[in-house]
């Protein structure tokens, strides 16, 4: 129980603290790709602190939904952070690590975010909510089939157990099919974090926006919390990908040195993945809105292929 408590505190703190950094890395890489200097790596932290202190403007049309949503988002994401170990896996615990519950916690955050988009009565918010709910609905089977494929390969639906097995040496060598699955997971990561071919995090142009449309009416500390939870969601999905695909350095025991190594390794791998995301975003154009299902189908197909090969192989 003690170990679980340490795990919970460490994991939540790590996710909260690391998340803005990865956001900053992606921004930096994108700026470099565009030939700009870009903001300092720690700018995201300054932004967050500034936002959390700033005055919030709330629409007179809106209700308590707008004000409760940021808290619900942060609470849901912090709870979800318990389910994805970033530093180490505590031994013998089945309380957390549940993939389905994590997915539905993210859905809880999304549900309230979409409601808040409709709350102010602005067309932008409505458009954002409508698109977000539509596309996350067709993304849902993709995520579930990826998780099912993981459950097929590792014979367990528990993420802790999956990570533990993955960190045994040579997982990729033993299960090369994982690469296919991780391509799907990468597409899900791009879509869930509203990145370029799906959404454009940089603009407020109504043609492209999904996520930004929903949070358009949020400001001050509310916006700060929304951005924090968005960054945390990205870190969680990145952690799933990283800790399965390249579990090098990932710790399965609780000791100071192993956790320090694990932290350094995770930062390095996370920065690399963030750089990949940044380059990916810079090298691809935004897809037409109703072309997105095609991209999701690719991810779906790859995961389905994994399952078929796993079943018949």
């Amino acid at each position: 129980m003690n170990e679980l408590l340490i795990y919970s505190v460490l994991n939540i703190l790590a996710v909260i603290l690391i998340s803005p950094f990865f956001m900053g890395v992606i921004k930096k890489i994108k700026a470099w790709c565009q030939g700009r200097e870009g903001q300092p790596l720690l700018q995201q932290y300054y932004n967050l602190i500034k936002l959390l202190r700033k005055e919030s403007v709330v629409s007179s049309t809106s209700s308590w939904i707008t004000r409760a949503t940021p808290y619900v988002n942060v609470a849901a994401l912090i709870t979800a952070a318990l389910f994805v170990p970033v530093l180490f896996v505590p031994s013998g615990s089945t309380l957390f690590g549940n993939l389905i519950l994590m997915l539905y916690l993210l859905a809880l955050a999304k549900f309230f975010m979409a409601l808040a988009g409709l709350d102010a009565g602005s067309t932008f918010g409505g458009m954002g909510s409508s698109r977000e709910m539509a596309f996350s609905a067709i993304l849902e089977p993709v995520i579930i089939i990826i998780f099912l494929a993981l459950a097929f390969m590792f014979k367990t639906p528990n993420l802790f157990e999956i990570f533990r097995q993955a960190s045994a040496v040579g997982i990729l060598y033993a299960k090369p099919l994982l690469i296919l699955l991780m391509v799907s997971l990468f597409i899900v990561l791009i879509a869930e974090t509203s990145r370029v071919p799906v959404d454009n995090p940089e603009t407020h142009l109504e043609l492209t926006m999904i996520h930004e449309g929903m949070v358009l009416e949020q400001s001050g500390k509310y916006l700060g919390m929304m951005e924090l939870s968005h960054a945390m969601k990205q870190t969680l999905l990145m952690a799933v990908l990283i800790n399965i695909l390249v579990p090098i350095g990932f710790s399965t025991a609780l000791s100071f040195y192993s956790i320090a190594i694990s932290f350094a390794a995770f930062m390095a791998k996370g920065t690399a993945l963030a750089a990949v995301i940044g380059i990916f975003e810079s090298s691809i154009a935004k897809l037409r809105l109703f072309r997105l299902p095609v991209m999701f189908m690719v991810a779906f197909f790859l995961a389905f292929l994994t399952i078929i090969l796993e079943v018949y192989g």
């Binding site: 007179s60 809880l108 596309f135 089977p141 579930i144």
Partner: protein
């Protein structure tokens, strides 16, 4: 003790049914006494069924026996007790709600009869579930159908009600027809109407199963037999819709489970595949059709179809895993299915009741004419939100836990041996995921359009909060939705089941804890200023620029255009000759009603055609009919002579 309880319950129910019909005064006092009596009767029964539920015992009760097989016998075992408890919980809340709701109804006459029928409806549902033999099951099943039919007809002056009522009664009779056929086969296997285990002979068992599945499936609203639901539920008053959608279709689910558990306890694999396929189809199409609806009650009716689909998916998994000899997983599947039955009964009646308050306040069922109601009706909005969160299967509410249990079984698909089954289950799981995400989208749409933003009509802006009883009733259900979700693990332990479900109590503590911590940390962090919505300088005041419900579901309609087959028609008139400046125009979009156009219409045509032919035989002369009778008897005699 049990006898006294049943005795008091019968007396209370008797009063509650008879009193409002006998006393023909239009003042509310008779109706109120009647509803209070019904509530007391329910409480008396709750005691018995709770005891049966916890101790896992069974009790029988012989009410009356007429001749050999014809007897009214009740048997309350754990399964029955579970369904009786579900019925009691929802009915109590509905009764409290109806206390004021019935008085607010615009109709002058018929309120007394409606209350009496409602009580009869509730009692008949309880008795169906407690029936010990098939004869009393069928008799009470019909009583349930007919009392609900008259309740659907309550607003008989309206044109649409007539069609809805006819549709309902025809479908429900069709369902009974299949049930009678199935039950006769059960009888013929051992000359007894007792609900009991069938002797093992495979072909007969399959026929019994198929007939029962069809019969109960029609009543439960399984696609493609679902069409009566979206007609009948909106036509009935909202308290009745809550009972029908929350409970009556669950009685059909009870029938299906009873057949699978007691009559045919060794199911075949392909039955499971069949149930799973129908369940998956109902789930996904139910929610897809719900998304296009703007009539709030019809939208909820389609969601009932979706949730019946989810329940059937659980049942299908039970049969598949049972037939493959994975008892633990099979048990988990059926437990998930049953838990979802209870949960759906709760949150669907919660949603029907709160939307009934909304419909009453705004005098429209069209959500496009609502908006901004959260300000005038905060309590109703909050309760509706709890229902919406529960039905969207979001943690920590009850809908999540039951869907989780079904997902858990899906995630253990790898234990199965047949590759075909594995792939089938994976596909079904993906569709279930799609369903639950679309349900969330649909309830964002519903809650957003009804309660958020700016009012879109006069009625919406002047809406009044519902009366107290119309808030207390749904509030009870809302609390149950939360409790059943948060303490699901503990409740299952009390009942003696140790399922591998997450302990939602801890999750809720973490969720609430972080919410509170952040709230306290940031409480004084910054000022909050209220200002108007940013709208590019275009005034928002009248709600015309808001996102509409049809706008909200537009991306989904476009993505699933193969299913909706949207037809767009638009005409434009122009001021100038070169057709540039539009003066006015007309645009409409219609979506295909697949089952109505391609399944129901051809059947209707065929029936129409054959009855056109048979009508010629009915000339109306007595001598002709005597000739028919003579010819008929002759044919029978000859046939018997040939056969023997």
């Amino acid at each position: 003790m049990i006898e006294t309880n049943v005795f008091f319950a019968s007396i209370f129910f008797g009063i509650s049914i008879i009193l409002p019909v006998l006393v023909s005064i239009s003042r509310p006092i008779a109706r109120r006494i009647s509803m209070a009596c019904a509530g007391l009767g329910l409480l008396a029964l709750a005691d018995i069924s709770l005891r049966v539920m916890i101790t896992n015992s069974a009790m029988t009760l012989n009410l009356a026996s007429f001749y050999k097989e014809l007897s009214f016998e009740l048997l309350i075992d754990r399964l029955s007790a579970f369904f009786i408890l579900t019925i009691i919980l929802v009915s109590l809340a509905v009764l409290i709600y109806s206390f004021r709701y019935v008085e607010h109804l615009k109709k002058k006459h018929g309120k007394n009869i409606a209350v009496s029928l409602m009580n009869l409806f509730i009692v008949s549902m309880i008795l169906v579930v407690a029936s010990k033999n098939l004869i009393s099951f069928l008799f009470l099943w019909e009583l349930m159908s007919i009392s609900s039919f008259f309740l659907v007809y309550f607003d008989y002056e309206q044109k649409t009600t007539g069609k809805a009522g006819m549709f309902y009664i025809i479908m429900t009779q069709l369902s009974t027809l299949f049930l009678i056929a199935s039950f006769l086969l059960v009888y013929s296997s051992g000359n007894s109407f007792e609900i009991r285990q069938m002797p093992q002979n495979a072909p007969m068992a399959s026929v019994i199963f198929i007939l029962a599945f069809l019969g109960f499936g029609i009543k439960a609203g399984v696609i493609p037999f679902h069409k009566w639901l979206p007609y009948a539920h909106p036509a009935a008053p909202s308290n009745i819709s809550a009972l029908m959608s929350g409970l009556m279709i669950k009685v059909a689910i009870y029938g299906m489970i009873r057949i699978l558990l007691t009559v045919l306890p060794k199911p075949l694999l392909w039955w499971g595949v069949l149930i799973l396929l129908f369940g998956t189809l109902s789930a996904v199409l139910g929610v897809i059709y719900a998304l296009k609806e703007h009539d709030i009650k019809r939208l909820l009716a389609y969601h009932s179809i979706e949730n019946i689909g989810i329940i059937l998916i659980g049942l299908g998994l039970y049969v598949i895993f049972k037939a493959s000899h994975f008892e633990a997983l099979a048990f988990m599947a059926i437990a998930g299915s049953l838990f979802h039955t209870l949960n759906h009964a709760l949150f669907k009646s919660l949603l029907f009741l709160t939307s009934g308050s909304v419909v009453m306040a705004t005098e429209t069922k069209n959500i496009e004419d609502m908006g901004g109601l959260i300000k005038n009706m905060p309590a109703t909005a909050f309760l509706f939100l709890i229902g919406a969160v529960s039905i969207s299967a979001l943690p920590p509410f009850n809908g999540f836990v039951s869907e989780y249990m079904i997902f858990y079984v899906f995630f253990n698909t790898h234990v199965l041996i047949s590759p075909f089954l594995k792939i089938l289950l994976v596909a079904s799981a993906c569709i279930l995921a799609l369903t639950s995400a679309l349900a969330a989208a649909c309830f964002v749409k519903a809650f957003g359009t009804i309660f958020l933003g700016v009012p879109r009509s006069k009625h919406a802006s002047s809406a009044q909060e519902a009366s107290k009883s119309m808030i207390i009733g749904p509030a009870i259900i809302a609390i149950l939705c939360a409790l059943l979700g948060i303490f699901s693990f503990q409740i299952f332990s009390i009942l003696g089941f140790n399922f591998p479900i997450p302990n939602m109590m801890y999750i809720s503590i973490v969720l609430a804890g972080t919410y509170l911590i952040f709230f306290l940390l940031l409480y004084r962090a910054s000022k909050i200023r209220v200002y108007e919505t940013w709208s590019c300088g275009f005034p928002l005041s009248n709600g015309k620029t808001e996102y509409t419900a049809s706008g909200f579901s537009e991306p989904i309609v476009t993505i699933f255009r193969a299913i909706y087959k949207p037809k767009r028609n638009s005409t434009k008139e122009f001021y100038d000759d070169s057709n540039v400046i539009v003066s006015h125009g007309h645009a409409e979009m219609s979506l295909m009603k697949f089952f109505e156009e391609y399944l129901y219409a051809p059947v209707l045509k065929a029936v129409d055609f054959t009855s056109g032919i048979t009508a010629r035989l009915q000339a109306g002369y007595l001598d002709l009919y005597i000739v028919y009778v003579f010819l008929g008897s002759l044919a029978l005699l000859i046939a018997m002579g040939v056969l023997t």
